[in-house]
Amino acid sequence: MIDVSGLKFRYPGSDADVVKGIDFSVSRGEIFGFLGPSGAGKSTTQKILIKILSGYGGSIKVEGNELSSLDSGYFEKIGVAFEFPNLYSKFTAVENLNFFSSLYSAKCTDPQKLLEMLGLEKDGGTFVSAYSKGMKMRLNFLRAIMHNPEILFLDEPTSGLDPANARKMKDIIKMKKGEGKTIFLTTHDMHTAEELCDRVAFIVDGSISLIDSPRNLKIKKGKKAVKVEYVEENILKSDSFPLDDINENKRFQDILKTGSVETIHTMESTLEDIFIETTGRRLL
């Protein structure tokens, strides 16, 4: 669906590339995630893909056609939720949705139905200026999906949401995937990436260091360990040991023999652990 190769981008007036030659492709019906710390170039890449930044180097093909050659018909097919909400503040939620609906030739979902999807059904008549940040983010998301687009671009979709609404939004994203939609999302939250993405790209400083499914990453790169808490000389201590050769680990056996073990847990590396190990950077 989307094939990117050698993509480079530099903001006008700046003297360094913020996207430094990246390659990736997103298949139809896939949720593809950009995982990386803030400032990595995630939003920039998204903005290039939705054509509000121009003058990129390299190639971007959407269904085989170069992005820069696509006309405004492209916008009928994509839905975009930006990182920061951008709605008309002196218009109500329903007015905003109706207005944006009228700009598409496709038939759009009824505003009231949309609002119900994210618990905003009672706030449809409220001016957006009176909305909280989280409510604006929800409305922003609904605006992105209302015309039932083939490709969704979601920039940090769950940021600033309470857990219950983040849950609902993730379920909608999964539902969209179920309908065969292609989804490109950016996030610095490993839980979101892990739960939603079929594949993630680790991006730091404008470069991608690897692309794989969260599951594969955990199998290939993850380490399993056993964490033991025990009492020694009246002090609670803890230690952890690799799971692989635990049966031959002398120290582990010794602790077991003392009979002073309080707890034993197995621990898996999180996606963030793997991210840190691969890129040497934290996801902040």
Binding site: K47, I52, S72, F75, I78, F82, P85, N86, L87, L103
Partner: protein, 233 residues
Amino acid sequence: MRAISLLKHDIIFQFRHRFYYAYFFILAVYYSIITNVSGVAKDFLTIFILFSDTTVLGFFFVGGLILLERDQNTLQSIFVTPVKVGEYLFSKTVSLTVLSYIASVFIALVAYGFPDQFLLFSAGAILSSTFFIFTGIAIAVRSKTVNKYFFNAIVFTMIFFVPIVDFVGIFKSRLFVVFPTYATVTLFSVLIRELTFFEKTASLISLLLWNCGMFFVAKKWFYRFEILKNGKN
């Protein structure tokens, strides 16, 4: 269909941001001025007011619209829909031109009754209004802050006001013909005197050309400086 939606939205937007109240107030001031003077002063003031009406609408209102939208960050969301830059600018222009035209007709009616050369007067009012709106758009997209915008708009207003010098008679020169505002003042003068055939055609052609040129610049700059620069956020 999309054009109608945009237009409707723009009108509600302007109404809710109290543009019409502001404009109503300005009109009331004009009205009280015109109805309280007579003779040459009235002729002068009427032309001057008609002229400033179109510029105020063009420079300050369209600039205000764009700066408000920039502030609410809505331009990004508009331009990831199928809306084209031309359609967006067209809607802004039509909504403000209608306002400006109604005001111009009102001012003319108050001052002199129904204009004899109504078509010519209308052409002058409408073409002047659209020209200043395009110019206002071009200035707005090149101004990073509200203050810079006001500064730039005032500078341009002053430049375009130069032909007034000719109108008042302080300094006459054929060179003023190059100013779009010379054509504006000439066409508005149809209210107070007969225009020659040359004056009519030259003014109309001048305004038409300025409109085409400025629309081209406004559209190009709007895309380059307002949409593509929106990577800011």
